[in-house]
Amino acid sequence: MNVSVMQENLARGLGIVSRAVSSRATLPVLANVLLKTDNNGLKLTATNLEIGINCWVPGKLEGEGEITVPAKLLTDLVASLPNQRIDLQLSTKDRTLKVTCGGSRSSIKGIDADEFPVVAAIGDAPATSVDSRALREALGEVVFAAATDESRPILTGVLTKLAGDRMTLAAADNYRIAVRNLTVTQPVGAETSIVVPGRSYAELMRILPDAEQQIDITITPNKSQVLFHVEGIDLVSRLIEGQFPNYEPVIPTAHSSRAVVDREAFLAGARRASIFARDSANIVKVEVAGDGSSEVSITAHAADVGDNSDVLEASVEGQATTIAFNARYLIDVLSNLGADEAALELSGPLAPGVIRGIGKDDYVHVIMPVRTAS
């Protein structure tokens, strides 16, 4: 096999697939990237057994072949080369990849491609398609709310429900939940629900182009894997088995007070309060003044440190309410919410707090409060 590619294209491809390379591989071959010739060019593949990424690099191909080489070594080498033509030459006999670029010649010892796990190419027709940019935005408002600790594995995933022309994404970590709806471009036949690991979606967000491009979503019939395909790239993810908690009943349908605040100002206030809240369990208090007033204040108090208070301009309806939150949850939603103004809806100090974007009916975020002594 002889392949000629441009350094820029190869570096980009390696950058994409190396996200799936196992950093602490139990199998040595998982630290490698698979290079294989196929009809669409040079195919690069990496997997950590949870996700697998294929990326096709355009180039001139002669003959067939495949090999795996250490991903980090190849990525670092290619990154160091000038943006010129790179010639890759595979010698199957001694399992070595020769890399030539201008006057630079390297050879990299590899592992047989046979030892590399098969990253499934899911052949069936896609379940649906969705606009790349819309999906990226939606994921950005949801994925951060998924749990990162493994005590309840189902909560490390993002519920992805397809029904008609609607896709619903929901993520929760038992203290907060984010739910986002978006429209798919190709209506779904049968209603389907899968739970995609939050980490897989985080990788997908990095790969998705910020452009109006279609992304095809295909689910294996046994619901064990999902494939996202966008021009030149596949991302395959394992799915999480189990029942996602029924979240609909925990989303409040009414409220006793509501404040509309500038999102950036609210975020800045929460950030400042969190500096003071570090030593007091990250707890900040949000006080919504009652009807007729136009203030929301965020305060933090740490016995040995001091205190801080930010008063925000707001339009307020309903009763005066004071509620305590973990500052991190406020910061997370306010920094990811795609709206200029945020509405905070409360129903008392121990009831879930709701955050929505103004002019944005497709999103709801719920944060559970902290019960404090005072």
């Binding site: 005590s151 038992n174 203290y175 925990v250 369990a281 990250n282 707890i283 973990n326 902290v370 404090t372």
Partner: protein, 403 residues
């Protein structure tokens, strides 16, 4: 002028043993456990102290020093019971009782003087009644602040009553060694010795600028203390700053799985005590002592306030995996809940009532039958002898001592 008492039961655990078994009177009684095993002395009677035995000393050393010592394992529920009686007696003189541990408390009797006489008279009454009604000897220091009262009670133990006259605080402290002051440990003692300072009086005379240079902001504080100034109030409801447990292994442990199982055990006890105090932890501290006694502590915040064992255990394990030096044998492991508050993060999906009922039942069984009565299946056969932490600092009291 305030009137503050510091009351401290003499050789408390050992005295309780003698109280319940008078044949032990005049014998060197050492509470802590089997002298041939690992572990340290929890308390030593004054007879035993004559041999050089003191608390926190390894039991084996105590045995060597005191061949004829009576070594007892300790009956913490009994100590608790008597401690409650003593504290209740204190409370009959003032509502402002701040327990520091099972055997020690500060009392602010400023407002009680009209009814009972001056601080010294109240101290006398308390000493007489604790002996007559409970059968224990308490040493009491009387002063205008907590610092001097504490130093005073400790000065002529056992059976002491030392009163520092108002205005005489600095003179009272002046001849005493600097280590009597809160916050002066071996390092500060050494640093002060460099200036030729060994007594509190010499420390009080050092220029503030010198102390600031050497000790930073604590320098000024140190000087005030040396002059006998301590404005800290007696805080009646004692909220612990941390709640911890630790285990000294009978044989050094290298198996990480064994250490992790032990952490689960510790996390359960710590969580149970947090719940009893209606507190939640904002972070966890792991303590490891290797063979050869070098000790490390590592701490990290929990994502949210927790009073259940699982998140504390998981964070403890994460800290352990990061901190544990490979191939080094561990002698002691401890887990402490830190950044305590009464705040509790509410949850979306758990039925809190159900979880609370389970943990409440576990707590009730433990309270009645002891910590070992109910445990997780994976801990069966893995439980080690454990002690609550004894890391007592007068200015930051740890939780009360319990089994």
């Amino acid at each position: 002028m305030r009137s503050i008492l510091h009351a401290d039961l003499d050789a408390f655990y050992a005295s309780v043993e003698i109280l319940d078994n008078p044949s032990l009177r005049d014998k060197p009684v050492i509470v802590g456990g089997d002298p041939n095993a690992r572990g340290v002395v929890s308390a030593a009677s004054y007879e035993a102290r004559k041999f050089g035995v003191h608390s926190a000393m390894p039991l084996r050393t105590a045995r060597r020093l005191c061949q004829n010592g009576v070594f007892l394992p300790g009956r913490f529920s009994r100590y608790n019971e008597l401690s409650r009686q003593v504290m209740a007696l204190f409370a009959s003189y003032t509502p402002l009782v701040e327990p520091i541990s099972l055997d020690e408390a500060f009392l602010d009797v400023t407002a009680s003087r009209a009814a009972f006489g001056d601080g010294e008279a109240i101290a006398r009454r308390i000493k007489d009644r604790v002996l007559a009604e409970i059968g224990l000897v308490v040493s009491v220091g009387v002063a205008t602040n907590k610092l001097c009262a504490k130093v005073a009670s400790d000065l002529r133990k056992p059976d002491a009553l030392v009163a520092v006259p108002p205005g005489g605080e600095a003179a009272f402290l002046a001849p005493l060694p600097v280590t009597r002051l809160w916050g002066v440990g071996p390092q500060a003692r050494q640093a002060l010795a460099d200036y030729g300072v060994t007594t509190i009086g010499q420390l009080a005379a050092l220029p503030e600028a010198t102390l600031r240079r050497r000790f930073g902001i604590h320098g000024a504080e140190l000087r005030l203390r040396a002059q006998g100034v301590d404005p800290s109030p007696v805080v009646p409801t004692h909220v612990p700053k941390s709640v911890g447990h630790e285990i000294t292994f009978d044989h050094d442990v290298t198996d990480p799985a064994r250490l992790e199982a032990t952490l689960l055990d510790l996390a359960e006890s710590v969580a149970s005590r947090l719940r009893r105090h209606h507190l939640a932890a904002g972070g966890v501290q792991l303590k490891l002592r290797y063979e050869g006694f070098d000790t490390i502590t590592r701490q990290a915040p929990l994502g949210h306030q927790a009073r259940e064992s699982e998140p504390m255990y998981e964070l403890g394990v994460a800290l352990l995996r990061r901190a544990l030096a490979p191939d080094r044998a561990v002698r002691l492991i401890g887990l402490t809940a830190i950044n305590l508050s009464e705040a509790q993060q509410l949850t979306l999906f758990d039925a809190p009532e159900q979880n609370d009922r389970i943990t409440a039942s576990i707590d009730a069984v433990r309270k009645r039958f002891g910590d070992a009565a109910i445990t997780r299946a994976r801990l069966i056969g893995h439980r080690d002898r454990r002690r609550p932490d004894f890391g007592m600092r007068p200015d930051a009291p740890s939780d009360e001592r319990e089994p």
